[in-house]
Each structure stands twice: as C-alpha cells, then as structure tokens.
C-alpha cells in the first residue's frame, strides 16, 4: 500500500517535471563521489527553473 502511494507520488511529480531526488543522490554518490551535492531545496529550485525557464515549454495544445 505504501509502495503504491510512493509510486503514485513519483508519477505525479514526473507529470510536473520533477525528477526523483533519491535517484539524483544515488547518481552523485556513484559517479561523482566527493563532488558537492545540491540539497533537496536547491535541487527542487534547479529543476523548476530547468522545466519552465528554458526552451521547450514542455506541453502540448
């Protein structure tokens, strides 16, 4: 039940273009150990700006 809820939450976040923070942390730990990592808030703001502030508004008519 909890897994289903988490899955729905992930789908909902993906619908508004927010990737998974955990995946980002995992990626940074694996590929760039020691490099500075954005905290959750910085990550959220970075992704928000990337989705809406850049090219390709990201949706259809």
């Amino acid at each position: 039940m909890i897994r289903l809820w988490h899955r729905c939450a992930r789908i909902a976040r993906a619908m508004v273009g927010l990737p998974d923070y955990g995946t980002y942390l995992q990626h940074m730990a694996q590929r760039h150990p020691g490099a500075p990592v954005m905290d959750r808030l910085a990550f959220f703001r970075d992704r928000q700006q990337a989705r809406y502030g850049a090219k390709g508004g990201g949706r259809c008519c």
């Binding site: 899955r7 939450a9 992930r10 789908i11 909902a12 976040r13 993906a14 619908m15 508004v16 273009g17 927010l18 990737p19 998974d20 995946t23 980002y24 942390l25 995992q26 990626h27 940074m28 590929r31 959750r40 808030l41 959220f44 703001r45 970075d46 992704r47 928000q48 700006q49 990337a50 989705r51 809406y52 502030g53 850049a54 090219k55 390709g56 508004g57 990201g58 949706r59 259809c60 008519c61």
Partner: protein
C-alpha cells in the same frame, strides 16, 4: 498460437462494437459501444502494430544504452521507470486540443469523428509520436529542428523551425480564443478563473519560502481554494456590485488576456507558472479519469445522429465538406504534429531502455486518442438542438432564445426556446447561445455526466463551472508556457540570422522576442474575437492545417531516416500516413486559399468584401466601412499564412525526396545516430546481476 487468443477476442470485440456503431440505424447507439470499439482497436493495435514497428521497422534494441543511461546526470538525463515516464509524457501531450477538435467535429455526426480518431491514431498519430521519440532517443534526445538539420540539412532544419514557431503562434491564439469565448459575459466563470491567479501566487510563495518543494501539499491547498472559488463564484455572479465587475465583452477580455500573457511570461517561473502548472496538470488528469468513469457508469445514449446533412459542407460550426476538413478539424487526438516537439523534448532523455519506447511513444498517444473519443462522446450525448445552439455563430442564429430556437429548428434539429433557457439556467449562465469554441459544449456535457453521478441536477451549475475552470486553467498555463517557448524559438531563429544581436544583449533580446510573440498571437486572437462568425470558424482550420503540416514534416523526417537506415521495405509505415496527411493538408490549404465559396476560401471572401467596398456597400455582418476593410485585411493575412504553411510543407517534401533518393543510391546506411553500439546487456541482465551481487 494460444497466447494470441485473448488478443483475437479483444480485436473481434472491438471490431464488432465498431460495426454496431457504424451500421445501426434508428435506435440511438449507446456511448459505451464507441468506447468499447476504441479500446478494443487500440489494445490490438498496441499489441501488434506497435510491436511490429518496434521490432521490424525500427529494430529497437533493449541492450542499446539510451541517452538516459549514457549521459546520466541525475537531472536532465535520468533513466525513469516506464509507468512514471508514461505519466510524464501523457501529461505533456494531452491538452485542450483533443477536447476541442472532436466537439467541433460533432457537427458531422458521431461516426466520421469516431472513425478518424480510431484509424488516424493507429496508423498516423501514434506512429508519428513513436518514430520521433525513436529518432530523438537515438540522437541524445535532440529536438525536432536539430533532427531535421542532422538528417536533411541546415536549410530544411531552419524551415522546420520557422514552421514550428508559426504553429505555436496559431495554437496560442486559438487557445486564448477558446478561453475568451467561454468566459465572456460569464461573471461566474471569469471570477473562478481570475481567482486562480492570486491562488497560484500564494502557492508559489508557499513552495518558495513557507514549505519549499512540497508540491503535493500545496496542490491540495490549491484544490481547496479552487473549489471554494467555484462555490463562491455563484454569489459573486449574483451580486449587483461584483456581478457586473466580472462581466466583460469578448473584446475587453481579449486585451486582458494579451496583457496577462505579456506579464505572466516574464515573471519568475516559481511565482505563477509553476504552481498553476501543478494545479492544472493534476486537475486535468483527475477530470479525465473522472470523465471516463462517469461515461461508463452513466452509459448515456448518443443523441446526435451518426451522420448529419453537413457532411457535404455548409455546416454552421465550421465551413467545408467532410473531406478534407474533418481531417484537419480533429488534429490532436487523431494525429498531432505538435507532439513531435514533445517527443523530441524531455521524454527521450528520460527513457530507461529502448524496450520502453512503444509504451511511451505509441501507447501515450493512444491514451490521448481515448481522451478525444470521450470528448466526442460528450458532445454527442447532448441534444443536437442544444449542440447547434451553442456552436453556431450569432450571425446565423441571433442572440435570443426565440431566434436561436427558430434557426436551429430550421436546420432540422428541433429545439424549444424554453429548453435553451432551461439549460442556461441549469448551468448557471445567462445564456448558452453561440458559446462557440467547444469548451462550453464539453462543459455542459461534463456537467450532465458528473451531476448524474454526484449531486443530481442541482449540482449542474457547479460541475459546469468546474469543467470550464479545468479547461481554462490549463489553457492559461499553455498560453504562458507557450509564449516562453515561442520566445526561445524566435531567439534561435534570429540567432541564426544575426548571432551577435542575441549574444550581446540577452536580456533585451528576450524581452523583444517575448513582445513579438505576444503581439503575434494577440493579433490573431483579436482578429478571431472581432470576427462576426465567431473566430473559431476561421482560426481552427488554420490551426488544423498547421498542426497536420507539422505532423507531415515529422513523418517525412521518419521516412527519410528509414531510407537512410536502409529499411526501405518497411518505409510504408511512415509513407502511408505522410501521403494521407499531405493530401488532406494540401487540399484543405488549397481550398482555404482558392475555393470560390466565400464561406470556405479566404481570397473569395476577401474579393466579395473588397468588391462591395468598391461599390460603397456594407455587407452583413460588418456594420461600417472600417469593419469591411478589417475583414478584407484579415482574410488576406490568413490567406498568406496558409500559403506559407503550404510552401513550408512542399519545401520539406522536396528535401525529403532528395534525402530519400540520395539514400537509395548509397549501398550502405547513411543514418547519423549518436551513441552507437549495443552493449549486449539489457535491463533484465543488469537486474539479475544486481540480485546476484546482493545475494
């Protein structure tokens, strides 16, 4: 063989339902037959045609690393679970288009629209989305313009980019026009939509400083605010002070929208755009799911006949005969060129393995077609008299219930004046006459369906305004986001011609391009709002032509690449829909330009009015000479626009032909993919390895 049996059953069921829909006469057909027919056909098409394309035409390789794997950065390139990505992609492609086109197409009856959506999506729309996703996925997730440039040359890429910008302008104008038509003279509707602006700003502040990043939480707060706005809107509309304050003419609303678009598109994204996008996205998905459940529970009969007398032309909603105009009226839902921009946007950077591409590329488009089918069902469960009352321009049916009742009854769809007044009262509006643009019609249908399930007839007004709000909300989000996207397209285009202009003064160039973009769609919006025939009549066909033109370009790109991959013998998969779209767009464009019927041809219409100006006459619906000149001017602009669209599509046809011939001459594949060879390791292999390591 055994594993095919369930699919054979589903396919036979779908086709039987379709035959029932197509062949039954007399008794009204239940909407569930249409839904069953669509579902059956879609499932079988997905199981067989999409997989055929994946395996044989594209040669998808689950072991080949996708951009999300090769360039993983945890931000833009993230290997994403397929159901999560499906949600992302579907939310990006499904907008107002599939809700509006089918409603307008209902003027020909439910059958032509149903057949075109089902077969159009299976053989054209879903193929287009899928092939563009495939192309972009194999080229680092590059955009459509870049793909055309890579495979067909610099000139072709620039022309495609210009086409995409012009389509963006037309889409924004037509979407804004739908909002204007739905909210003009409707204080309740306008109040609820206006309330979303402070609400979204509050949400923006909340996610920025109060509880940063809590999207779910803030969306719930927003939803409560929205529902309160709808409930409270009734009293606002009834209030002697606030009612008139929220009642605007279409012209006034047009300028409000243009100003809003200009301001909203330069505000920081977290303040207004992002929070409203959360609201509109979740509301959209929720409303679509609720509509599907509602149709299944209510199982309403289709009251619209399968075919109306307007299939030969002369319909009040839009002009022209079934061929070719039906095929451009329903664009989104059957085949939507705009998806080529989405399928070459964020999605290809998120796809975890090539094996997921059929579900995302082909499957999500089938889901959008299903939304279109529901919109068509919605329009067709209404009394046809109400449908034509709402969708005919005031120039044809007048503005009061008695004249509308007489005019629509004369069309052959008897409707009493009291019925018209009753429907308006039920949904809490002063009038429903000539509320063109599709959104109000769908809102009446949704109110009918939702009130049947929750709340009864007393709730119709609430559900009507809920439906209007849901459509207006994501249209406004699209206007805002689209203006930003259009600005970047324009900057790119200017950058190609004058790179130093962009580099030196980024800020100024940004503001200038925003102003140009708003000015461009604002011009067409104003033209549509002041058009005595309602504007939808003029703008929707231009939108349809441009959207199908982009689809044709995307499919031509697919064709060129298939030849360059040396997969000539499977090229029919894209060639057939390309040819069909070219036939439809070129003939529709030709008729819009040169038809002698002034109701269809822009130039014939312009000539009729300029001749009258020469004679010093004023023709209805113009009231004075100035209006006459405006009509002629607008006709010529529209004609020029259609001509440019035709030239763009012909030019790209030429580039495609050249590319294909060159590819035929080459003995080896000339395709330019990025990322190369397969690793031989699939996701399943990796999962097994991970399990092994864990054990």
């Amino acid at each position: 063989m055994l594993r095919h049996l369930p699919w054979i059953a589903i396919g036979t069921g779908g086709l039987a339902a379709l035959a029932h829909v197509a062949l039954s006469r007399g008794e009204p057909v239940n909407a569930l037959w249409v839904v069953t027919a669509a579902l059956g056909c879609f499932l079988v098409a997905y199981r067989y045609y999409a997989l055929f394309i994946a395996r044989h035409v594209m040669g998808l390789d689950a072991a080949r690393p996708t951009p999300a794997v090769r360039r993983a950065d945890g931000l833009d390139y993230v290997a994403t679970d397929r159901t999560v990505l499906f949600g992302h992609h579907f939310a990006a492609i499904a907008g107002a288009g599939p809700l509006v086109g089918p409603v307008l197409a209902a003027q020909m009856g439910y059958l032509p629209g149903t057949l075109w959506i089902i077969f159009g999506v299976i053989f054209a729309g879903a193929v287009q989305d899928f092939i563009v996703l495939f192309l972009s996925m194999r080229r680092d997730g590059r955009s459509l313009g870049e793909l055309v440039r890579m495979e067909m040359g610099q000139a072709a890429g620039t022309i495609a980019l210009m086409g995409a910008f012009m389509i963006m302008v037309i889409i924004l104008a037509v979407l804004a026009l739908i909002v204007v038509r739905a909210l003009a003279e409707s204080p309740w509707g306008l109040f609820t939509v206006a309330a979303t602006v402070p609400l979204a700003i509050f949400m923006g502040v909340y996610t920025r400083w109060i509880r940063p990043g809590r999207i779910g939480e803030v969306s719930l707060v927003g939803l409560v605010g929205l529902l309160a706005a709808i409930v409270y809107g009734e009293q606002i509309a009834a209030s002697p002070v606030w009612g008139p304050a929220f009642t605007f003419t279409p012209q006034a609303l047009c300028f409000i929208l243009i100003t809003y678009g200009a301001i909203a598109s330069v505000l920081p994204v977290w303040l207004l755009l992002a929070p409203r996008d959360y609201l509109s996205t979740f509301l959209k998905i929720g409303a679509i799911v609720a509509l599907a459940i509602g149709i299944v529970i209510m199982a309403p009969p289709l009251r619209m006949p399968p075919l109306t007398q307007f299939i030969g032309g002369g319909g009040p909603v839009w002009s022209g005969a079934l061929f070719p105009f039906l095929f451009i009226t329903i664009a989104c839902g059957a085949v939507s060129g705009f998806h080529a921009l989405i399928a070459s946007g964020t999605t290809p950077k998120l796809i975890a393995t090539e094996a997921d591409a059929p579900l995302i590329g082909y499957g999500a488009m089938l889901a959008e077609a299903f939304v279109a089918i529901m919109a068509l069902v919605g329009a067709c469960i209404l009394d046809p008299g109400i449908y034509f009352t709402m969708n005919s321009p005031a120039a044809l049916i007048g503005t009061d219930a008695a004249s509308a009742s007489a005019a629509v009854t004369a069309m052959g769809y008897p409707i009493a004046a009291e019925t018209i007044a009753n429907v308006a009262r039920d949904v809490g509006e002063s009038t429903i006459i000539s509320r063109t643009g599709g959104a109000p019609t769908l809102a009446v249908a949704m109110a009918e369906i939702f009130a049947h399930i929750a709340g009864g007839p007393g709730m119709k007004a609430f559900w009507y305004h809920f439906a209007i709000l849901f459509e207006a909300l994501f249209i406004l989000t699209a206007v805002d986001a689209g203006t930003r996207a259009g600005r970047f397209m324009l900057q790119d285009l200017i950058g190609l011609a004058a790179p130093r202009f962009i580099e030196g003064r980024a800020q100024l160039a940004g503001l200038l391009c925003t102003a140009l973009c708003v000015g461009a769609w604002g011009f067409f919006l104003y033209q549509g709002v002041t058009d005595p025939l309602g504007g939808v009549n003029t703008l929707w066909p231009i939108f349809g032509i441009s959207n199908q033109m982009l689809a044709a370009i995307a499919l031509m790109l697919g064709t060129a690449v298939l030849f360059r991959m040396k997969r000539d013998r499977f090229a029919w998969v894209t060639v057939v829909p390309t040819v069909w779209l070219l036939i439809c767009t070129l003939s529709a464009g030709w008729l819009k330009l040169f038809s002698a019927d002034p109701a269809v041809g822009f130039l014939a219409h312009a000539t009729r009015f300029s001749d009258a100006i020469g004679r010093g006459e004023v023709l209805a619906p113009a009231r004075d000479m100035e209006a006459m000149r405006a009509i002629v001017f607008n006709d010529r602009i529209d004609a020029a626009l259609v001509a440019i669209f035709l030239l763009i599509v012909l030019a790209l046809g030429g580039f495609t032909l050249r590319t294909v011939l060159a590819a035929r001459r080459s003995p080896v594949p000339t395709v330019r993919e990025i990322g190369g060879a397969s690793t031989g390791i699939t996701r399943e292999d990796r999962a097994l390895a991970a399990e092994g390591a864990a054990a």
